[in-house]
Amino acid sequence: MSERKTVMSVNGTEMFSPPSNILIPTRDEGKKPVLDVRGLGIDFGGLRAVDEFTITVSPTEISGLIGPNGAGKTTVFNLLTNVYKPTRGAILLDGHPTAGKSVAQVNRMGIARTFQNIRLFDQMTVLDNVRVGMSNNIRCNFAESFLRLPGYFKAEKRSRERALELLSIFHMESEAYTLAGNLPYGAQRRLEIIRALATEPKVLLLDEPAAGMNPSETHALMESIRQIRDQFGIAIVLIEHDMNLVMGVCEGIAVLNFGKVIAKGTPDQIKNNEAVIEAYLGRQEKKEA
């Protein structure tokens, strides 16, 4: 009951921050945003790592979060997944606040993520890595597992089939039985994305998915990101330094510097935004005449 009340009160004041129309792709117009973040901020001691972070993400939008090193991009992801408790602000996922939920609960609510420094289950096979992601979507209780009741075999079969299906997105079925730790770097990144997808999220957060990939791999990844969006109908937020990828695939981009959003807009707007150019390249001193 109390949970509903907080939603209501949020509803009462103002449901969503006024959507910057440019950021919402036409196909999502009029739809409720899946992720509504308002005034998010966190302090580490005296340091304001993130401040006044406000974005809305529509249900099938691909959006990018860019910014110079140390701007707070990964911190934003950690805030969105409740790894850090925000000092200020609120996150609404499909209208439900995520405040006070554990990391696992937030995942079950519908936010999945990948990590900048790859975090796979190295000693387990590729297939099992994906199946771990499915834990909450496939029912099989302890008794069924211990005694191998029919429910166990059903769950195992379903999870295996589903995992292979997911692996086929990146054409990784043939590597299903190798240990995740033995995969090459690029494949590990792709596996992380598949594992995150296996949790059936509404919002997928990708932290530097193209890091360490060569141009052709990056290009393939770009295609895959679009394919995932179309196939699963989910929103994707990605942090990336590879501007070809960001400009190529994102429909809306937010630029972060020193923990603050300095610009929001379409790729073209961002490319020509002076504040962004300044954040990346510095200000050009005007010569005295």
Partner: protein, 351 residues
Amino acid sequence: MKKFLSRINRRDALTLLVLVGIFAFFFIMLETGAASNQFKNMIIPMSYYILLAISLNLMVGVLGELSLGHAGFMSVGAYTGCFLSVMLVEKFPELPMYVYLPVAMLCGGLMAALFGVLIGIPALRVKGDYLAIVTLAFCEIIKTVIINLEFLGGAIGFDTDSIVPDRNKALTLLPYAAFAVIVSAILIMNLVRSKHGRAIMAVRDNRIAAEACGINVNFYKVAVFGIAAFFAGIAGVLYGHNDVLLKSANFDFNMSIEILVMVVLGGMGSNMLGSVIAAVVMTALPEMLRDFSDYRMLIYSVMLIVIMLFTSAPALAGIRERLSLGFIKESLQKKMAKKAEKKKAGKEEEK
């Protein structure tokens, strides 16, 4: 049949086969009277050490948490089970063993599981070496508490002689031990190969990623503490029924370490076969070395060091590979293929 075979993991099947083989061997040795007294005394200890090693492997190898409190869980099970058995035998002297022993095992296991969960909850806050210290402290606390409980015999020990009045204890207890160990091994292996087992291993491999995948890390940690303690408790009941006098001083740090050594030597992880073999060897070894009398423990420890080096030294990786089952199988297949080729070549020449 084929369908059935495809449903079980090959390694688990092998483990099961070895277990059944071990117990069949015990039965035959006892039934035919071929077993020496020394061997007879080793049979039940081997059984409960197998169970202890498997259950500790679940905690150390599968969950990845170092626990030095396994002897503590075992003693909880032993005292609960034996106390119950003694009471039942006193109240109902007619009661057959196949009623009270399983009841004792179940209750001992459940009590140990309860303690496992109780220790597991505060232990969530610590990990690694610190967890080892916490569990070690628990083990010592249990020991001291039991010494001070008068109804459990105090420092003199708890007299359990009345439970199994039989002269030939090994033969009487063996069916129960075999049943308990084999069923427990099946249950544990089933768990490991299920959704829950994968979740537990995920916690071991990367806690943060496991959480991000929606896995309730705390729940699984406590659950494994409870499950591992349950089986340790059952092993404890076996221990108690095999002895004539339960002394809490026996369930000390050394015993926990002994079980841990078995798990480490057998290879930590989802494969339980190593733990089974290591438990058998480690229980037999000190007894077999009795002929060396004074040098027994010296030889025993040297052998441990040698085994340790052999199983983990990087310089010996080549030798290990040559001795592995997979390698032998492969080389056999190669030989067979060569032979077949020669035959073919010979036939063609004949033509």
